[in-house]
């Protein structure tokens, strides 16, 4: 479930402004984009690949492994279900603000078709030096350089900062796994931790968590069983409870999902928790993770 150079990628919404910008960036980085979807431009070509009316149409002639959605929120459900029914193994859902009932229906379609959803509201996945899927600045050499640290983040911007901190300290990354800032996501911190644990190139993992939900607590249970070191930063220590801090998932309600309980769970599982992101590289170096 870590994207590889050989994975064939279908871009839903390929002809739009963002779809075009990021597809070009993915292609330039080495991602194997095999086709796109836009019902109004079926039969044409865009950025050197064929455009289909639906993902199911595409699958007939142009098999793909990963679907990546550049689709506005009110249309996201239909596109996601199309991708699942077309047989996508992995669906990277970048869209934010999808109605929650639609997200539930997307997860049903994913379960029924054996598709793994990453997101919604993820910034995507980067396999450093190989390929990327989504909207991360994989091509920015100040942020991403090949190394041995896996990074898991709910947030694209905070994940970018963490990767930058690693690069500035002379460390590098294997994989960036953006799981998304929504409350009901298909791939959890714990799932991503499991994938990075199984990845031979990854020697240590950084979790960039946030307040709200219980993803970090569940990940802590898994981290306890791992041989590879895990360190974490949890955003939102200063955020007032009961307020949605931008991400729909980042809200503390009824004393659940607050900073203290997440930090406690992680530390009890042997995961070092940084006060500020810039401490992460030093913590890794103390664990003998070298560049």
């Amino acid at each position: 479930m870590i994207p590889r150079k050989s994975d064939r990628i279908l871009i839903q919404g390929i002809t739009g402004k963002q779809g075009t910008f990021w597809t070009e960036a993915m292609q330039a980085y080495g991602s194997n984009v095999v086709g796109g979807v836009n019902p109004n431009k079926a039969g044409t070509r865009h950025l050197g690949v064929p455009v289909f009316a639906t993902a199911r149409e595409a699958a007939k002639t142009t098999p793909f492994d990963i679907a990546c959605m550049f689709i506005p929120p009110m249309l996201a459900k239909d596109a996601a279900i199309d991708a699942c029914e077309a047989g996508a193994r992995l669906l990277v859902c970048l869209t934010e603000h999808i109605p929650s009932h639609d997200v539930m229906e997307m997860h049903v379609a994913a379960r029924q078709n054996g598709t793994r959803i990453v997101g919604p509201n993820t910034a995507g996945l980067v396999t450093v030096g190989e390929c990327f899927v989504g909207i991360m600045p994989a091509f920015n050499a100040n942020v991403f350089r090949k190394g041995n640290v896996g990074v898991i983040s709910r947030s694209g911007s905070l994940g970018t900062l963490l990767c930058l901190n690693l690069a500035q300290a002379g460390l590098g990354q294997t994989v960036f796994y953006g799981i998304g800032g929504d409350p009901m996501i298909g791939t959890t911190t714990r799932d991503a931790l499991r994938f990075l644990d199984a990845d031979p190139a990854t020697e240590a993992v950084v979790i960039c968590g946030e307040i709200g939900g219980s993803a970090e607590e569940q990940a802590a249970e898994y981290a306890r069983t791992m041989k590879k070191p895990v360190v974490a930063f949890i955003a939102g220590r200063q955020s007032p409870p009961g307020k949605k801090m931008g991400h729909a998932g980042a809200i503390v309600t009824g004393g659940k999902g607050d900073y203290a309980s997440k930090r406690r769970a992680l530390e009890a599982a042997g995961v070092g928790v940084a006060d500020v992101p810039s401490q992460i590289p030093q913590m890794l170096k103390q664990l003998s993770i070298a560049a």
């Binding site: 963002q18 929120p73 009110m74 970048l94 934010e96 603000h97 999808i98 109605p99 929650s100 009932h101 997200v103 539930m104 229906e105 997860h107 049903v108 910034a123 909207i135 991360m136 600045p137 920015n140 100040n142 942020v143 983040s153 709910r154 947030s155 694209g156 911007s157 905070l158 994940g159 970018t160 900062l161 930058l164 500035q168 800032g181 409350p183 009901m184 960039c208 946030e210 307040i211 939900g213 930063f233 955003a235 939102g236 220590r237 200063q238 955020s239 007032p240 307020k243 949605k244 801090m245 931008g246 991400h247 729909a248 980042a250 009824g254 006060d275 500020v276 992101p277 810039s278």
Partner: protein, 380 residues
């Protein structure tokens, strides 16, 4: 978006759930007239928060004159930070038993969940303390919906009169349909009562509708309670920006929710205090100028910290917006930048050339400088 009782109950009624007759009153005179039409009634404060009864915001009245006296006291009362501006005058109900029922978004199962408890009429937390086994939870597959059997299963052990059991099943099915059709995140009836003649009546309703579904819930959006916002928060919301006032002195402008929260945390770590949460990532990344204008209207802001780490959001576009706004507004305070990610080289060059300010390479250094400036010390 949240709906007050008076707005939520008519919506419940659309799905076949019985609610008492009621009228909304904004003045004691209106309350008196409503009570004259309805008969013995309950005067209920309308505010989008719980614990109204404990706060003295719910009173029974036998006569119109008594309803007026209660309304005089309740209108203007503060409950949970809200000022009561209106009361619901509702016909009294003959209560035999009180239940609790709700349908919520359940993040763990990624689907809806029906909650039912035989201990209604009190706080959920309070009921859980008294008897943690009282609450029944039924996960609902959204592609199937709530079935008759699932609905019955949550109250099967209650030994209800057959008439009440049929009515309760119908009410729970209606509650689920309401959750589904209204794009609710939460729809809660507490108490859902059995009357002396075995009818099921909803005596309260709390409804939260998913903001993301607003485009297809246009009919009910105008019925939602206004959000409690400061002047600047309301202004930002009108511009499609998420802005939260926090009371500190370091203005924060960052992209993305995660980075913005982190910037606040790092400011506090170095002894400062953020004045706001303001995120301009996502689709809002082109609105830097609007965002900055709102941020600077807050008189507590002593300096501005701009932290961009562009992934989706292009830092050159955001920096251009900030610099243009800064040159227009000419605020008399220092500004500190740290910029990385997509478009960072162009953004850094732009800030350097047009403002003569050198962005910090390390976020921590930018934060320390901003904290020092806000506290009146010279930047280290």
């Amino acid at each position: 978006m949240d709906f007050e009782e008076h707005a939520a109950k008519p919506l419940l009624a659309r799905f076949g759930i019985t609610v008492p007759e009621s009228r909304l009153a904004h003045t004691p005179a209106e309350a008196e007239a409503a009570a004259a039409a309805i008969g013995s009634c309950v005067v209920k404060a309308q505010v989008p928060t719980g614990k109204r009864g404990k706060a003295g915001g719910i009173k029974r009245a036998a006569t119109p004159a008594e309803a007026r006296r209660h309304a005089e006291r309740i209108i203007g009362m503060e409950i949970g930070g809200w000022t009561v501006e209106k009361v619901l005058i509702e016909a009294q109900t003959d209560i035999a038993r009180e239940f609790y029922a709700a349908v919520i978004d359940d993040a763990a199962s990624k689907g809806p969940m029906l909650l039912f408890s035989r201990m209604g009429g009190m706080d959920v937390e309070e009921a859980a303390e008294q008897d943690p086994t009282a609450m029944r939870r039924q996960s609902i597959p959204i592609d199937v919906g709530l079935t008759d059997a699932m609905a019955r299963s949550v109250f099967a052990d209650l030994d209800l009169d057959p008439l009440a059991a049929v009515a309760l099943e119908k009410a729970l099915l209606g509650l689920y349909r309401a959750w589904r059709k209204l794009d609710a995140e939460l729809i809660e009836i507490n108490p859902l009562v059995v009357t002396g003649d075995n009818r099921i009546v909803a005596l309260d309703c709390k409804l939260t509708v998913d903001d993301g579904a607003a485009p297809r819930q246009a009919e009910i959006v105008p019925l939602a309670a206004p959000e409690k916002r400061t002047h600047l928060e309301a202004k930002a919301a009108a511009e499609g920006l998420k802005y939260i006032e926090l009371g500190g002195s370091v203005g924060v402008l960052a992209n993305g929710a995660g980075l913005t929260m982190t910037t606040m945390d790092v400011i506090a770590h170095y002894g400062g205090s953020p004045s706001n949460f303001l995120e301009i990532g996502g689709e809002a990344y082109t609105k830097a100028k609007t965002a900055l204008t709102i941020l600077l209207e807050n008189p507590n802001v002593k300096c501005l910290l701009v932290n961009f780490c562009g992934a989706f959001a292009r830092t050159d576009v955001m920096a251009d917006g900030v610099v243009t706004a800064w040159q227009d507004l000419k605020p008399d305070m220092p500004i500190f930048f740290t910029i990385h990610g997509t478009g960072a080289d162009e953004a850094v060059a732009l800030v350097r050339e047009r403002l003569g300010v050198e962005p910090f390479d390390l976020m921590d250094d930018a934060v320390k400088a901003a904290v020092a400036a806000a506290s009146g010390r010279a930047a280290a």
